[in-house]
């Protein structure tokens, strides 16, 4: 099960919507919601490991700035940044968070699903190794049948 962590500086409608969206995906994900406003204050944060996937949600420029203030705390994680809507975020400063994927909540979520399902696929495939000894993997870890 792939763990992903979800965080925003506020318990905003955007965060709630993202949480619902992730929970609705038919992927093998364990979604861990970190307490809005203080990500490291709950026992859930003890499950965070360097290189884990961390989804940050920001409703607007102000929330981006709040995230930026603590960006050093997020550096060791792989960040996916979800912005509420294109209109609410006017500057590109969110790129200072060095996200691996940026998506807009109002129209872009299928890309997030694709990204996550790719990550899960890489993992799921390799997890089932014993059944797949007659198959091989391409360079991205995807399963390909060997020609007979």
């Amino acid at each position: 099960m792939q763990k992903i962590f979800l965080y925003s500086s506020n318990y905003s409608p955007a965060l709630q919507r993202m949480h619902r969206y992730l929970s609705g995906l038919s992927l093998k994900l364990q979604i861990i919601l970190l307490p809005p406003g203080s990500p490291f204050s709950s026992p859930a944060s003890l499950e965070l490991r360097s290189n884990d996937l961390l989804i940050l949600v920001a409703e607007n420029d102000q929330e981006v700035e709040v995230l930026l203030r603590n960006r050093i705390d997020y550096e060791e994680f792989r960040i996916i940044l979800i912005l509420a809507q294109q209109a609410a975020v006017t500057s590109n400063r969110y790129m200072l968070l060095s996200p691996r994927l940026v998506a807009y909540l109002d129209h872009d979520l299928p890309r997030v699903a694709e990204y996550l399902s790719n990550i899960c696929r890489i993992q799921t495939v390799t997890r089932q190794v014993p059944h797949l000894l007659r198959t091989s993997f391409n360079s991205k870890g995807n399963l390909t049948k060997r020609p007979h």
Partner: protein, 471 residues
């Protein structure tokens, strides 16, 4: 002003080119044969060589590497009499700046010449750069890390592309950030392109952006990462995984410094600095035909190789303290003591997953020992403690045969050597799979074992899915 060598058997062309280049303040020598040219290249320090292909005593392309490797490492532009696609490809793949046809050489030379010389100037500046570095977040003072930091300082002072290599978890991204932060682009974005995790169909639109209607589902336009990196740094993480089709498009971006969003007819500009990282052997991938040699050549203007943690074990102690302090601060837990035997145990282990594995181990230890004021070796995972136990064994007589389970090393009678070894192998594999979360590709990379061998061992030790992905 550059020092230039023209290699061509056509005396008239040599004179024409020489006079044009001299009028642009360059110093110029010419040679009519390969032999003469090679001799000159060895005696003088050329910045640039204009090299003909068909020469009386051989083919210029065949001698390319000999010129490229002379002590001044000149930039090389190939000239030829007739269009020859194969020759052009070969020239560019060998690292030539450009491939020009002679009939139009006087007009077409200016742009590649200027770019090649600018690039060379940049390289020189880097080599002379003073070494003073912001290194927050980079811990360690082993000689190898200090020398890597010197290279970071040099790279940060210039603008050349840098390829960072090293095993998984050695800090490639951390060093890439340090180059960015110490460069004049440091306040701008450090844009990461995750070549390994982005699905192939997303990479293109993510990199280049797209216009509305460019493909099904593109109901608005979107800015790509290349544009978002304008003024800053573009970091191609795991560049070895970049699909071949995109390698080609990206090479063009590097050459032209412009790109076209999907579905757009307009070229756009972006002024970014390129850094790339990989834990793959890209030269091998070039040999296999899965990575473009010309792209590798462009990426590797400078290269930085990060040593594995086992070759700088003196860094373990400060790294460990650093991670622990961060964890305590982050979770607002009072600081913890670390016992000497804890460190000693860390030192006995080989850290196949390098700094990341050390960090994740501490995160795990911290979570388990959150209420303990001091960390002891027994807080560490068994596979790490076992190494210390094994070190003790190596100086002793071979153990007598026994049948007791090997995991009870501290509990009485040891087992026979063969079962002991088998158990170690099983534990090691479990540890690798836990670390990579069952990812075979990663496991091969970390362990250095082939895929076939890993499968063999999985069968041999009857490892179940559960065991492999146990978190």
């Amino acid at each position: 002003m550059a020092h230039i060598l023209i290699v061509d058997d056509n005396t008239m062309l040599c004179e024409l080119l020489s006079s044009q280049l001299r009028s642009a303040d360059h110093t110029v020598l010419s040679a009519l044969t390969l032999q003469e040219a090679l001799q000159l290249a060895q005696q003088e320090s050329f910045d640039l060589i204009l090299l003909d292909v068909q020469l009386p005593d051989g083919n210029g392309l065949d001698a390319f590497q000999q010129f490229a490797q002379t002590s001044s490492r000149p930039e090389i532009i190939i000239m030829t009499g007739s269009g020859d696609a194969e020759g052009a490809k070969k020239a560019i793949q060998s690292g030539a700046w450009s491939y020009l046809e002679k009939p139009n050489i006087l007009q077409n030379l200016v742009s590649p010449l200027t770019r090649a010389l600018e690039y060379r100037e940049e390289k020189k500046r880097i080599e002379q750069a003073p070494v003073a570095l912001k290194r927050e977040g980079i811990i360690g003072s082993s000689p190898v890390i200090n020398s890597s930091l010197d290279q970071v300082a040099c790279a940060a002072a210039g603008g050349a592309n840098v390829l960072i290599t090293g095993e998984t978890g050695t800090g490639k991204e951390v060093f890439a950030r340090a180059i960015h932060e110490n460069s004049h682009r440091g306040t701008k974005a450090f844009v990461v392109v995750d070549c390994a995790s982005l699905p192939e169909n997303l990479i293109e639109s993510t990199l280049f952006g797209h216009v509305k209607g460019a493909f099904t589902g593109a109901d608005r336009s979107a800015t790509g990462l290349i544009k978002l990196a304008d003024g800053g740094t573009l970091f191609l993480d795991e560049v070895g995984e970049l699909p071949e089709r995109i390698q080609k498009t990206f090479l063009r971006v590097l050459q032209e410094r412009s790109f076209r969003p999907l579905g757009s007819t307009r070229e756009e500009q972006s002024n970014f600095r390129l850094l790339a990282a990989t834990n793959r052997d890209l030269s091998q991938k070039v040999k296999d035909g899965s990575f473009r040699p010309d792209l590798l050549y462009r990426l590797r203007s400078l290269s930085l190789h990060l040593p594995p943690l086992r070759e700088r074990k003196e860094d373990i102690r400060p790294l460990c303290r650093h991670f622990l302090v961060r964890l305590c601060e982050r979770t607002q837990v009072s600081s913890k003591e670390i016992s000497d035997e804890f460190f000693e145990t860390l030192m006995d282990y080989e850290w196949p997953g390098n700094v990341r594995e050390l960090q994740q181990t501490l995160e795990q230890v911290f979570a388990n020992a959150i209420h303990h004021p001091t960390l002891f070796a027994y807080h560490l995972p068994a596979h790490i403690r076992v190494c210390t136990a094994m070190q003790g064994l190596t100086h002793e007589e071979p153990p007598p045969p026994a049948t007791a389970p090997v995991s009870s090393l501290h509990q009485g009678r040891p087992t026979d050597w063969k079962s002991f070894k088998a158990e170690q192998e099983r534990q090691y594999l479990q540890q690798v799979f836990t670390y990579t979360r069952g990812n075979i590709k990663e496991s091969c990379r970390i362990s250095g074992l082939s895929r076939a061998r890993i499968y063999q061992l999985i069968n041999l030790h009857n490892l179940s899915t559960q065991q492999k992905v146990a978190f």
